[in-house]
């Protein structure tokens, strides 16, 4: 029976496959950002599994992955948001995050898993996902929000980061590798859900959507 870990890793390829299936019809930047992210995520997870890297003290891959993941999600959200001030603030937060990571790299501390870094990422992205949903409530453009690829991208990010938030935040406090592996399963499940939702988003983005422009009040 395949391990949850392997299923989770191979699920990274699901959005990639759906994108390749509909690639002629997909002209949306955030979907291609997700495409690159999923490929990177798959390769990165293979490396982690190969090195058995979840011994967190040497998990430099996880650290770079967090940075790349944050930048991917922030880019996607930037394209999905309509509020210009929120977009500007997102750029500010992202610069702060990148500077924080550069400082860590230059101090040689990037080799340790950092709960603050992942918590920062989670809080910012979750906040922006909630802001996006609020934007959709106050300024709805389509009757059924779940017909929009944007909604599924946001829900994917939201469930993944909210579900794995406590695992990331307390990762350094978990003792034995066996115990860590048990809790890491929560992250794997969230990752599978995220990729499923991203795949729905990709499929929807390949279909033309009727937006009611007049309702953009």
């Amino acid at each position: 029976m395949p391990k949850l870990e392997d299923i989770s890793v191979y699920f990274d390829l699901l959005p990639v496959l759906v994108i390749l299936l509909f690639f002629r019809r997909i002209k949306i930047v955030p979907i291609w950002v997700i495409f690159l992210f999923c490929i990177y995520s798959f390769i990165n997870n293979q490396v982690i599994i190969y090195r058995d890297d979840r011994a967190l003290s040497i998990s430099d891959n996880l650290q770079y992955f967090t940075l790349f993941e944050y930048l991917t999600f922030a880019t996607v959200i930037y394209f999905l948001l309509r509020n210009k001030l929120a977009k500007l603030l997102l750029i500010g937060f992202s610069l702060g995050f990148v500077i924080f990571c550069i400082v860590k790299i230059s101090a040689g501390k990037m080799k340790h898993f950092d709960s603050i870094q992942t918590s920062y990422e989670s809080i910012i992205i979750i906040s922006y996902c909630l802001f996006f949903l609020a934007e959709q409530i106050f300024n709805p453009q389509i009757e059924f929000i779940y017909n929009s690829y944007k909604f599924w991208l946001i829900v994917g990010m939201l469930i993944y980061l909210a579900g794995a938030f406590f695992v990331f935040a307390f990762a350094t406090q978990l003792g034995e590798k066996e115990e860590r592996d048990n809790f890491w399963k929560i992250m794997f499940v969230c990752n599978i859900i995220k990729n499923l939702l991203f795949s729905i988003a990709v499929w929807l983005s390949s279909k033309p959507i009727k937006e009611n422009k007049k309702l953009a009040l």
Binding site: S119, E143, L158, A169, F170, G175, E179, I186
Partner: protein, 276 residues
């Protein structure tokens, strides 16, 4: 988060992770479900608003078409009932001249025909003036309004006066014409329905907008009543006021003063001066 980490013992950590994950996921799922349902309601509400707005615009358009049709019918009736018989009578007099060779009778007939031609000229002039007052075209809104108010005061039933505080430059011809029609319609309504003793119009400019304020001491309308009549099948004149205000990109507000002694209508129009 760091504080939480520091204050949690190793055994509690597991529970914190499990409980925290369950609570956060439940919260997120609740928010997502709420957004799906609430967004749909907001969308439907907005769509209904849009529909109401479209219906209102349609009603205004219909009113405008009806008004044009009525105006045409009035002109047709004026021409048919007044100009037609006048010209027919002139023709009779001239025919009589051809038959009757008696010079005094001919002279009388020509004199009568001349009188009737003068009447016809006056009639056509009146029709033309009712379509576009020459004072408005040649001398501008201030003169046209003063002219209109003088005629009203002259009739003796209502005292009408106007004061333009800031009208050194004329608005564009189309704007002047629309404002004049709105003022004319408002004044007509006051005379017809309000039983007012006086009408007073003031004009001034503030923050890039021109304000026309019409006061009267009769029984008038407040904004809610205006909106209600505007949406009903009645109130053709009010619909015309609304559609003209919309064309002007302006706004109109009906109110009564705090002491309930007089009614006030405020018309706000963005200033767009004529180049001439």
């Amino acid at each position: 988060m760091i504080i939480l980490q520091l204050t949690t013992s190793a055994s509690d950590t597991r529970w914190t992770i499990l409980l925290g994950t369950v609570v956060v996921l439940a919260l997120v799922l609740t928010i997502i479900v709420f957004v799906i349902f609430y967004q749909q309601r907001v969308y439907r509400f907005n769509k209904k608003l849009q529909q109401v707005e479209e219906e209102k615009q349609q009603a205004m358009l219909n009113a405008s078409i009806r008004f044009q049709e009525e105006e045409r019918q009035r002109i047709a009736a004026d021409l048919h009932d007044d100009a037609g018989p006048l010209l027919a009578t002139i023709r009779l007099y001239l025919n009589e001249n051809l038959i009757n060779q008696d010079p005094p009778t001919q002279l009388q007939s020509i004199y009568n025909a001349k009188q009737l031609i003068d009447d016809a000229i006056q009639l056509i002039r009146n029709i033309s003036h009712s379509l576009m007052p020459p004072t408005l075209k040649n001398f501008g809104l201030e003169s046209a309004v003063n002219d209109l108010f003088q005629k009203i005061t002259g009739s003796g039933s209502v005292h009408a006066s106007a004061r333009f505080h800031d009208y050194k430059m004329r608005l564009k011809v189309e704007q002047e014409s629309l404002v004049f029609r709105i003022v004319q319609e408002l004044v007509n309504n006051v005379i017809k329905h309000s039983n007012a003793g006086f009408i007073h119009l003031t004009q001034n400019i503030s923050n890039g907008s021109m304000f026309f304020r019409l006061h009267h001491d009769g029984v008038g309308l407040v904004q809610a009543e205006f909106e209600k009549l505007n949406h009903s099948a009645l109130g053709l004149g009010l619909k015309n006021i609304s559609s003209r205000t919309k064309v002007l990109n302006g706004s109109i507000f009906f109110e009564i003063d705090a002491n309930k002694t007089y009614y006030k209508v405020t018309l706000e129009v963005p200033v767009d001066y004529s180049k001439g």
